[in-house]
């Protein structure tokens, strides 16, 4: 190989630069980061099982919105036959009082933005005001 003295260190430097973000994230712990959602301490169960909520909370809230605004139906019957008021402010945020400790954890991690909080309020936000 011609110029092996230049090419091999050059390759090593190149690989080092390429791998830097991965190495950096591994060392700083960012690569293994997972969202830390703070669950309400005094409440034991969500309106639906965790797996359902994880996948379907968007559709659920969308359905609630349509139901309350369009049909005027404000009572949600969960699969375990319990009944809840369809309200982001009054039902969801009654337990998850601070969105920054719950909703935003995953949303920020996944780079998801939503517009809920432009209008809807959560109890912790009121305390700040």
């Amino acid at each position: 190989m011609y110029d092996a003295k230049k090419i091999i260190p050059g390759l090593i430097i190149f690989l080092g630069l390429i791998a830097f973000p991965i190495l950096h994230n591994t060392v700083s712990g960012k690569a293994t980061y997972s969202p830390k959602t703070e669950l309400p301490k005094d409440k034991k169960e969500c309106i639906e099982p965790k797996d359902f909520i994880r996948v379907n909370h968007k559709e659920l809230l969308e359905d609630w919105k349509a139901s309350v605004v369009r049909i005027g139906m404000r009572v949600y019957q969960a699969t375990n036959k319990k009944r809840y008021t369809m309200s982001l402010n009054r039902t969801c945020m009654d337990c998850h009082k601070d969105r920054t400790k719950f909703c935003d954890q995953c949303h920020n991690f996944m780079g998801v933005t939503n517009k809920c909080w432009d209008c809807h309020l959560y109890p912790k936000e009121l305390e700040k005001r």
Partner: protein
């Protein structure tokens, strides 16, 4: 197969017991069958309307703003303090502006400048809903002209369509202009249109609209026009009442008693 009478009775008895097992178990185990959801036809058959007794209103103390204040407080209506960006749900205008066709040279002295409480007329034939390109505003079966803030794109066609100026546009984020936020009702955001909703969130709980409840003079009367025995029908019965610009054919459901 030969079967005796005794055998037949035994088998039929067992069959009967077997059939009883499931309903019997349901009674004993207290499993509640799924309740039917509150009737989806909750709106139908009603026609909400309001009557405003101006005499009583004028008899109130000078500067009485109970109805306006309570509405703005519970609905998180901001007071921006700049006329062009004002958000209006319920407000007052002078008599000659509210009823230009009912003022003439000879009643000017009596009526001119008297303040008239105005709000969204919840028209029976609302022009605003025809203009909305996204169906963000529509007339419910019970006659309330509703807004879906989620769906509003802020084109303001409805504002152009409303002859009463009952709709307001949020030119900026209203939150900093709300003194005390009510958690029970969402605020609005920049770029949506809003208006009076006849307190539909209170009606569903069986309450009267906040302004009606707050009025000490009992000048505001609310009820169902389809119910011949309702207070509003009794109030309107045989009386000459005014509506704002009825000649436009919008059929307002806010009536004024002078």
């Amino acid at each position: 197969m030969e079967i005796s009478r005794r055998g037949f009775l035994k088998i039929s008895g067992l069959t009967f017991l077997g059939l009883m097992a499931k309903p019997g178990w349901e009674v004993v185990s207290q499993i509640k069958p799924i309740e039917p959801s509150p009737a989806p036809n909750y709106f139908s058959g009603k026609k909400w309307a309001m009557a405003i007794d101006l005499r009583k209103c004028w008899e109130a103390q000078e500067g009485c703003k109970e109805c306006l204040d309570v509405c703005h407080r519970i609905h998180n209506v901001p007071s921006i303090g700049y006329l062009k960006e004002e958000i209006k749900w319920i407000w007052t205008i002078p008599y000659e502006k509210a009823f230009p066709e009912h003022i003439h040279d000879f009643n000017q002295e009596e009526y001119k400048g008297k303040s008239v409480v105005v709000l969204c007329n919840q028209c029976d034939d609302p022009p605003c809903i025809r203009y909305c390109p996204t169906r963000a505003t529509w007339k419910r079966e019970d006659g309330i002209v509703m807004m879906d803030f989620h769906r509003c794109i802020g084109c303001r066609y409805c504002m152009a369509g409303c002859p009463y100026g009952s709709r307001s546009f949020n030119w900026r984020d209203p939150r900093p202009f709300i003194k005390k936020v009510n958690l029970e009702f969402p605020t609005r955001t920049k770029g949506v249109v809003e208006k009076c909703n006849f307190c539909e969130e209170r009606l569903v709980q069986g309450l009267l609209p906040a302004c009606v409840e707050a009025c000490k003079e009992k000048a505001l009367i609310f009820g169902d026009l389809n119910d011949p025995h309702s207070e509003i029908r009794r109030t309107l019965n045989g009386r000459h009442v005014l509506q704002r610009q009825p000649e436009l054919g919008t059929k307002p459901k806010v009536f004024y008693i002078v």
